[in-house]
Amino acid sequence: MTSTMPTQKAPPALRGVSLVLAAAFSFPGLYLIWRNISTGADPLGLLTSQRTLAPLWRTLKLAVTVSLSAAIIGTALAWLTMRTDIPLRRTWRTVLPLPLVFPTFIGAAAFIRTLNPGGLANGLFNSIGIEQAPELRGFFGAWFVLTLFTYPYVYLPVAARLQRLPGSLEESARVLGDSAIQSFRRIVLPQIAGAVAAGTLLVFLYTISDFGAVQLMRYDTLTRAIETNYLAQPAVAFALSLLLLVLAAAVVSGERMLGRRTIAPATARSTRPVNYRLGRWKPAAAGFVLLVGALGVGAPMVALIDWASEGLLRASRNGRPLAISSDKVVEAARNTLESSVLAALVAVLAVLPIAFLVGRYRSRIGSVSHAIVIATFALPGILIALALRFWTLRSGFAGDLLFDSKALLIFAYVVRFGSLAMGITLVAVQTVPDRFHDVAATLGANRIRRLRTIDLPLMAPGLLAAVGLVLLSTMKELPISLIIAPLGYPTLTTRIFGSFEDAFVAEAGIMAVVLVAMSATLSWFLVLRRAEHR
């Protein structure tokens, strides 16, 4: 095995491009610092107050536990669906990423509607002998819901990594007498550690920035304090947000220090990946995947479909007509598809240079850019939206040009979700062995040709997973879609929000079902096409 510890000096062009990208991604952070100064905020003073420390502690407790459980569940699901003969593998690969697409404000509400006392699953609970379902709330409720919403951040990169991981080593290990578990620990785990770490970091950052789920579970974290203070005491809201960002930056830097040991495989694409027979473990494994699928996708879907069908039935029974027409749903769906696909493609392209710089060379510019891109994920979306408005209003001609444009919306999404693409793309870059380059260079291939014929094909599963992550996340994004989108550019999420706010649950349910169906189609598309190349 060769280590890809970078040694060469990076080409100036690559450093230049990364610097420009890093500057683009630092807009929200700079805005936040400026707002802390302009409002006379006192983030350090807040740190010593019990009113900050208590929610900060709860935020950390939640983020650490959710990270752990999402890492375990995401990794286990990836291994089971990529490496074993578990039934319905294809289907699971399409379904398992889907919890990403539920906007938390309606997803968490749907969970509650299905699972909590008196909810839709009450009859089911009674029939299996549970008289009263436990009430999902507080720390447990927040942990439960967020674990189910965030495991795809781990599942997707790990599954992509496993797909490109040659089975030869595992086979040798098995021939030498290792059990499946031993070979997983000794061979597979070191190879996927980078992907697991990158995904877990995203789970951590998402959890500290989440507001929708924690507020519905009534678990009081830092984001609730931020939300309550926006109008009442803006200085406090900005100071607390800065604390979030600093916390995120610290965790990102920590992960980088640990994550430098990524190991490239000795051979890539040389053999087909192994497929373990689960044997007598099959029912248990299938049960586990089914349980996660049923809770993560099934439970919220039950409530959404219930709301949607009630509305459709009502309209057909000549009850109150629906407040939305099919034209409006189609319009919103089209905008959602357009903006999320563009954002996903641009996000992956935007982080690629930084990933090359960090993965191939030793570069301070690279490390800093990487940290900026990822830490931004911990900021509430509304701050990114306000930051962009702040900067476009202060950048003269360019600002006028961008004001109220789709380009600005896409840019905002990319800044918000570039972090999701960053980790996987970096892992993908690091897993292309240097040897291939050396050989190709010796044979006279130029840099572009090497990129096209060696890097991109080897990185393809990782890049597609990155596209998928950004795509599903953008489809559900709310604050930026409300604040930055051009006037008259509704998305499914903005219309779901509007309907749900005023308790038009049928309309919200219908559009949420459309959103999930659309993302399932896209997810299936990516999985299916990927499978063909095996």
């Binding site: 509400a109 109008l231 709301w307 007509p321 939305i324 604040i483 706010e501 649950v505």
Partner: protein, 357 residues
């Protein structure tokens, strides 16, 4: 490169989808908007007005469609959350494209007024509502109202038990049974008026006693009404509006009803939704015209018949299904007099520890 083919296909799908959109302009309105204005649409002269609306699209768009059709003035809207839109207006300052801001509740309006971002509404428009439902400085005008009520689960609360006043809820029989949307805008506004009417000490003591009586915290009105329907909570303090929506959607299957507190109790305050014109607006004529339209007879009728809200102008009576109005209205409280009222309210609510309940 084969592996990039899915991306290319998806992109093609997007471009195709984008290409087959397109709007047609109609000369006559359909659906709900036609109930407000049924005539032939006027031809515009290029006038336009831009709205940031914290009120939601399903309820407000028919009104705007009717206005646009009747007057020929184009209306562009950014729909959103009132608090976030207020922050956006603050960020945009004099360069905002918005002429009008519609708020779900008075809090964000108070914030904008304190920042000097609101212009003055024409007296002719202000005069359409009772004095207490518009600002003394002319910066806002109320255009509909939502009443504070108690929502309760039919199976968990008997009619004899129902409280006369919010002050009853601090007593032992209600221990652990009451839900408060303590950080929600409507509750914060209500609590601010509560302080104004009874004094900060009384209001703070009430909230502390509610916390001591194990009141439960919920993030908003909607989640309380939903929880009351399932029986997760017995009773909650909310806006009257949400239970009407739930019943309209689910009928008898929804097991919760609204309860009105006694006459004059602070628990049955009317909280108005306010319309404002931004200081930066260059289309003040059109903006005033639109505000006047919101207060016209057909629109006020629409608000009460279709959206279960209280009308505030044109002599329109409240829909029969709505509980009778008692004297208290939030409009009677002067935003200017409250000063840092909302900030202080937020501080008291935080200090009570309700958010951890």
């Amino acid at each position: 490169m084969r592996c990039m083919r899915p991306l290319v296909s998806v992109l093609a799908l997007v471009l195709f989808a984008s290409a087959c959109g397109g709007n047609t302009t109609e000369r006559v309105l359909e659906g709900t908007a036609a109930d407000i204005f049924s005539g032939t649409c006027a031809t515009g002269e290029g006038q336009e007005v831009t709205i940031y609306s914290g009120r939601t699209e399903n309820l407000i768009e028919p009104v705007l469609d009717a206005f646009s059709c009747e007057t020929g003035i184009d209306v562009a809207v950014r729909w959103g959350d009132s608090t976030q839109l207020a922050l956006l207006l603050d960020e945009e300052g004099d360069r905002t494209p918005a002429d009008i801001f519609l708020s779900r509740s008075p809090g964000p309006v108070g914030f904008l007024e304190a920042r000097g971002l609101l212009g003055t509404i024409d007296d002719a428009v202000l005069g359409l509502v009772a004095e207490e439902n518009s600002s003394a400085t002319g910066s806002w005008v109320g255009f509909s109202g939502r009443k504070r009520v108690a929502v309760y689960n039919l199976d968990a609360v008997t009619e004899q038990e129902l409280p006369e006043s919010i002050f009853d809820l601090t007593s032992e029989p209600w221990r652990g049974r009451v839900a408060l949307p303590a950080t929600n805008g409507s509750f914060v506004d209500w609590f601010t008026v509560f302080r104004d009417q009874f004094g900060t000490d009384v209001a703070t003591q009430w909230l502390d006693e509610m916390v001591a009586n194990d009141a439960k915290y919920y993030p908003n009105n909607r989640s309380i009404v939903e929880a009351a329907g399932r029986g997760e909570v017995d009773l909650g303090l909310v806006n009257h509006y949400y239970n009407y929506q739930e019943v309209a959607a689910a009928g008898d299957a929804h097991r919760a009803l609204n309860h009105d507190f006694g006459d004059g109790d602070i628990g049955s305050l009317l909280v108005i939704t306010a319309a404002t014109i931004t200081r930066a607006s260059e289309n003040t004529n059109e903006a005033n015209q639109l505000l006047g339209y919101l207060l016209s007879e057909p629109v006020q009728r629409y608000f009460t018949e279709e959206t279960f809200e209280y009308p505030l102008a044109a002599g329109v009576p409240a829909a029969e299904a709505l509980p009778a109005l008692t004297a208290l209205e939030i409009g009677s409280v002067d935003f200017d007099a409250l000063g840092g009222g909302f900030e202080e309210t937020t501080r008291i609510i935080e200090a009570s520890g309700i958010a951890n309940q």
